[in-house]
């Protein structure tokens, strides 16, 4: 139940920040997927806990929403101590290549350090800086760039398969 509430909250935050049309569809999908996700699986982590946090332009400060997501991630990771993760830092396309690599490293570091401060052992969390090389949203507008300025916690091992 607690997880369901958390998820609804995530969906709400998502709608506030992203384009409404695109987002409500995504949230519905997440809800359906989340309802079917078995505990301790990668699916549960991405759809119920929330695998990513977003940043303001040229910033690596964790917003209160980002901190909430990371707290849920940390709680989940503490519940499943075999899971290892890699935090991927990303930047939007509105910057130069080298700087964006460094900026995305800052974002990955901010997310990783927050997880560690929440009690997740450092050795379970690696990080990588992708710069602007791997956008997820492709339009040339803030609604896409804001989705690309992100840190994504990717499970690299130890999750249950079903």
């Amino acid at each position: 139940m607690l997880q369901r509430i958390a998820h609804f909250k995530l969906a709400l935050i998502c709608c506030l920040f992203l384009a409404v049309a695109a987002c409500s569809k995504k949230a519905t999908n997440n809800l359906e997927a989340g309802m079917g996700a078995a505990p301790g699986t990668e699916q549960e982590f991405t759809t119920v806990v929330g695998d990513r946090v977003f940043f303001l332009e040229d910033q690596s400060t964790l917003t209160s929403e980002a901190q909430e997501t990371l707290r849920r991630q940390a709680a989940w990771l503490k519940k499943y101590p075999d899971v290892t993760v890699q935090v991927e830092g990303h930047a939007d396309e509105r910057g130069t290549r080298e700087y964006n690599i460094a900026l995305s490293a800052r974002r990955a570091t901010a997310a990783r350090e927050f997880l560690i401060a929440q009690g997740v052992p450092a050795r379970r969390i690696s990080s990588i800086a992708y710069g602007k090389e791997r956008p997820v949203a492709m339009c040339d507008a803030e609604q896409c760039w804001s989705q690309n300025r992100r840190a994504v916690t990717v499970i690299t091992g130890g999750a249950r398969t079903s």
Partner: protein, 447 residues
């Protein structure tokens, strides 16, 4: 490869025709008295009319090589923006003998200021390309040279001849016998495949040097053009990799615990300068390739990256956000005397020192637009050369006169292409590439 050069007919009188002297000089430089008055504002320039009848050939094969060489020379000269190769249909005199003096009146009549005649000779399996450059007005021969080489090097021979003509008529060193290393891009924006690639500066002879499995960015030539340093997201952590073009060997540069990126060679080729990630910060280090000694040059809790040496190796220009936003800084090669040089509105990034030492080219971000510009090494005299949705990553031709960069097109199916522009901001040209292309780095003149 070898191309032998021999002047076989010393110029009788090297008339330093000032046809282009005015055109060549920047707006800042005072014009010489005998120069033709030419306005160098963008889009309003009079390129020099030059006639390039097809090189004669002493055999079928030689004739074909001669024609190909002529078209590559004409293309080089036209793309430089300083020359207007006249259409062959307009030629009155048909050159039939390389050794005969041209009928200058015929060339004057079609407004040609300069004339190039030449011939290709196949001699024992070797190609001999000979050419003469004539000043039509004074009826003087300005240049006469021959090159002997393997026929498969005909393109390089053409570029070398074009460089000789360019230098003779402009007084500026040529840049046509050069290559560009860049990133070939394919596939959708969210799953771009990036391959290391090399081509001639005119877009010919594209060679892919990686298969696209590893994400690769920011390739840079060594001063000898024999090696390329780039960042690769290969196995494990991303690293700066050194690639030997001839042996095809790859080697990770240095043994660093963290991610290394943004490499460039020192002018003597003995060191690679780059950034290392340290948590959320990035600092600049230099690695001596022989002694493997590492030296830290910046030490601030900020992003310090995109370092580039001055041509004499005594200074380094780089970008840092230590003051709050991305700005350009210079320091001595030992890391001392770090000072900010960019003070305009907006953010400044990817500084590159001109091979002539006189300018620093950069990317400027201002109000959501991306420009390429130049400034003096002390930060004065800032000028933007091109501006738009997204222009990034300048690189210099070895003569310090032309800048190449990439321009990203908006749209879900858009992608980057390479462009070149004169440092006056005029003569912007797209550089042909097989697909999308980014992160160009210009080689020095080849040997």
């Amino acid at each position: 490869m070898q191309i032998f050069r021999s002047p076989f007919w010393a110029p009788r009188f090297v008339a330093a025709i000032a046809i282009l002297a005015g055109l060549m000089s920047l707006a800042l430089v005072p014009r010489t008295a005998d120069a033709i008055e030419i306005d160098v504002t963008p889009g309003n320039i009079n390129p020099l009319p030059i006639a390039l009848p097809s090189f004669l050939g002493t055999s079928g094969e030689a004739q074909e090589l001669g024609a190909n060489i002529t078209s590559v020379i004409a293309n080089d000269l036209r793309r430089s923006g300083f020359f207007n190769p006249l259409p062959p249909e307009s030629y009155i005199e048909q050159i039939t003998s390389f050794d005969q003096e041209p009928r200058f009146a015929d060339w004057r009549q079609i407004q040609a200021k300069a004339l190039v005649t030449g011939q290709a000779v196949m001699d024992g399996g070797k190609l001999r390309a000979e050419f003469r450059l004539w000043d039509v007005g004074s009826q003087q021969q300005l240049l006469a040279t021959q090159f002997t080489t393997n026929p498969k090097n005909w393109r390089r021979t053409a570029h070398i001849i074009a460089d000789a003509i360019y230098k003779q008529l402009t007084g500026i060193d040529g840049y046509f016998d050069t290559q560009v290393v860049f990133i070939d891009e394919s596939g959708p924006k969210n799953k771009r495949v990036k391959k290391l690639a090399i081509m001639d500066q005119d877009g010919a002879n594209v060679r892919l040097l990686s298969d696209g499995r590893d994400l690769v960015v920011t390739p840079r030539f060594s001063p000898s053009s024999g090696e390329v340093a780039y960042m690769s997201y290969g196995r494990g952590d991303p690293r700066v990799v050194l690639y030997n073009i001839e042996t095809k060997q790859r080697e990770i540069v240095g043994e660093f615990p963290n991610v290394s990126f943004a490499p460039r060679f020192s002018p003597d080729g003995q060191s690679v300068i780059m950034s290392l990630l340290e948590g959320g910060n990035s600092n600049i280090y230099v690695l001596d390739l022989r002694s493997r000694q590492v030296r830290q040059l910046t030490n601030t809790p900020a992003i310090n990256t995109a370092p580039s040496y001055s041509p004499d190796g005594s200074q380094i220009v780089f970008e840092s956000d230590r003051g709050g936003t991305q700005q350009i800084y210079t320091m001595n090669a030992d890391g001392s005397n770090q000072q900010r040089i960019s003070f305009g509105d907006g953010r400044y990034s990817t500084p590159v020192w001109s091979p002539k030492g006189d300018y620093i080219a950069f990317t400027k971000m201002y109000r959501g637009r991306f420009a390429i510009g130049v400034m003096r090494p002390d930060g004065s005299g800032e000028r933007l050369l091109t501006e738009g949705f997204h222009n990034e990553g300048p690189t210099w031709a070895p003569n310090g006169r032309v800048i190449m960069f990439f321009r990203d097109q908006p749209g879900e199916n858009g992608g980057p292409k390479l462009y070149s522009v004169d440092i006056t901001g005029y003569n912007e040209q797209q550089v042909p590439s097989p697909g999308f292309a980014s992160d160009p780095a210009w080689s020095p003149l080849l040997n």
